[in-house]
Symmetry: C2
Subunit: 366 residues, 2 copies
Amino acid sequence: MAETRQVWAEPLEDFCVQVFQKLGVAEEDAQITANVLVSADLRGVDSHGVARLRRYVKGIRDGMMIPRPEEKVVTETPVTALIDAGAGLGQPVSHRAMEKAIAKAKEFGAGFVTVRNSNHYGIAGYYAMMALEHDCIGMSMTSAAVLVVPTFGRNAMLGTNPIAVAAPAKNERPFVMDMATSTVPRGKLEVYHRLEKPLPLGWATDENGTPTEDGKRVLDNFKTQAGGGLLPLGGAGELMGGHKGYGLALWVDVFCALLSGAAYANTVYPKTADGKPLPSAIGHFFGAWRVDAFRPVDEFKASMDDLQQRLKNTPKAAGEERIYIHGEKEYEVADDRLANGIPLNAKVAEDLRAIGQELGVEYDLG
Amino acid sequence: MAETRQVWAEPLEDFCVQVFQKLGVAEEDAQITANVLVSADLRGVDSHGVARLRRYVKGIRDGMMIPRPEEKVVTETPVTALIDAGAGLGQPVSHRAMEKAIAKAKEFGAGFVTVRNSNHYGIAGYYAMMALEHDCIGMSMTSAAVLVVPTFGRNAMLGTNPIAVAAPAKNERPFVMDMATSTVPRGKLEVYHRLEKPLPLGWATDENGTPTEDGKRVLDNFKTQAGGGLLPLGGAGELMGGHKGYGLALWVDVFCALLSGAAYANTVYPKTADGKPLPSAIGHFFGAWRVDAFRPVDEFKASMDDLQQRLKNTPKAAGEERIYIHGEKEYEVADDRLANGIPLNAKVAEDLRAIGQELGVEYDLG
């Protein structure tokens, strides 16, 4: 296990808020962004938590992320909207987009908002989960940096394009599916590389488009753009359903990028005022459906409990002890980390301290 | 290759219409059902075409499918509705539900209809594709007979629960994703069994929940309900993402069964008037989003063309010659079968002839 520092969610979030404000981000936007990041750490999705703070700091300093963007609603109907994020941080605009989708769902039964000209928005599940307290089902998708090869292709043309769906239950925890449409995200290759473990065939391809066990080669190829990349869910070819993962990734691009006007398949769109390309140019899609627009909430939630209990209580495969519902592991980690603190990777903790020093924000987290 | 009989779509469809009418199905419903079935044959999804006519005949005769059901709208809001299918055929109610979703999308920007108390609805993609001519994006999902094991589970608790999404393009063909959320459908096991080929590990498990190459064993276990079943997309365990396929299947159950009040995870709901359980008790979910509720249709369609061209023209993996867009293979098969006829399996042709004789419908298809 890597060395860790135990930190508490609240001061960690406060620290991030101050960092973003020092970089010129408005207070509300800083709070939202910090909350999304620390929520990832609480839920055990460490790859999407404060470990990414440096990337946001760099993104703002490089001008790729505008700290106070001109965010505007481009199109709006009773149940839909398109927002241009003005190349700002992905989190604040996504929070507002999901709030808008929920408000529309509460008034009309369902609501959908696409966002273009945005940046990395953190964990997809965060926004889907915003619907839960309103007795709505939430959905969130995002396009992402191009790392995934299409079925039978040699080069990456798609992002890891996650899909998240959250649905409320009664006494059980909500169902929270939050999945990249690739077999694994890039971070998983980095973990295997550090541990010097060969990759399972079906995770990634080399520069010829051939499945490989050599994680270092794939990671190096990303840097030199030599070809190859992550494989869609289902792996290479069609035998194990790789074309299905590829289809899911394309669907996410259609909803997040093509419906909004964001980048897709290595296009770069749009540009900054001075003609500089914005390599992120990310698009998102948010949706909310009000449960009682279909069925009484109590009946639905009772069924959600029953479904979960049936699944958990069904016999286990040989050698297995437990069947999980999506989101359950993350809720359990969050309970533990709220009670006992977040075990922050020591290198990440050092980097936060360095960011604090650079920006004059006190780092007193341990 | 199995022996085949070349038949034409039009007389084949007429034959099916007459069969359904002889069984007491109203003319419009018979026409819709026949059209959905023959569309599957045209698109090359032979497993979901007229090869299933016998099952519908039997379903109606056994009282599991009501030929003239009392179909009613249970709940309706501007953009949502819940329809009770009255245990009728799945196709006619699904056609009407999707038409309702499209009408709502045209008026308000998006529309969603769930259906409960229904039966097998044929190919999921058919309904999603209905949105295309209205410049809408269509979605269709259905719950299905329980054949799929949850991750770490021993017994089947989920259906193959397909998801279909269709989006229009300009000069290119529409994007039509239509995928079971299991690695493969049951039919694929039957094909491998007939060819005496071992199953790839990751398709199915034996009665202990252990991945197996023995297709006969899995198929026998289905009949005797001995346990095991199909694996979700991503295979067994979590290493290759099996929990993601499991999550997608659960999502489909939440939208199709829990939001509508249909059966899920081996529940059986509701019963017929005389208390007989309806083992199908299938639920569906249909959605439509109007493209121009987000972005001008021309811009969207031009991007859809560009996305497809970029994907098709990107370098191929070693040994591969072509990258496909979802739906492309099926459109090409349909072009061929419209021009040259449908190569109907000889056994299926014989069975159609037998059905015709039983019901007094002339079978003159060759």
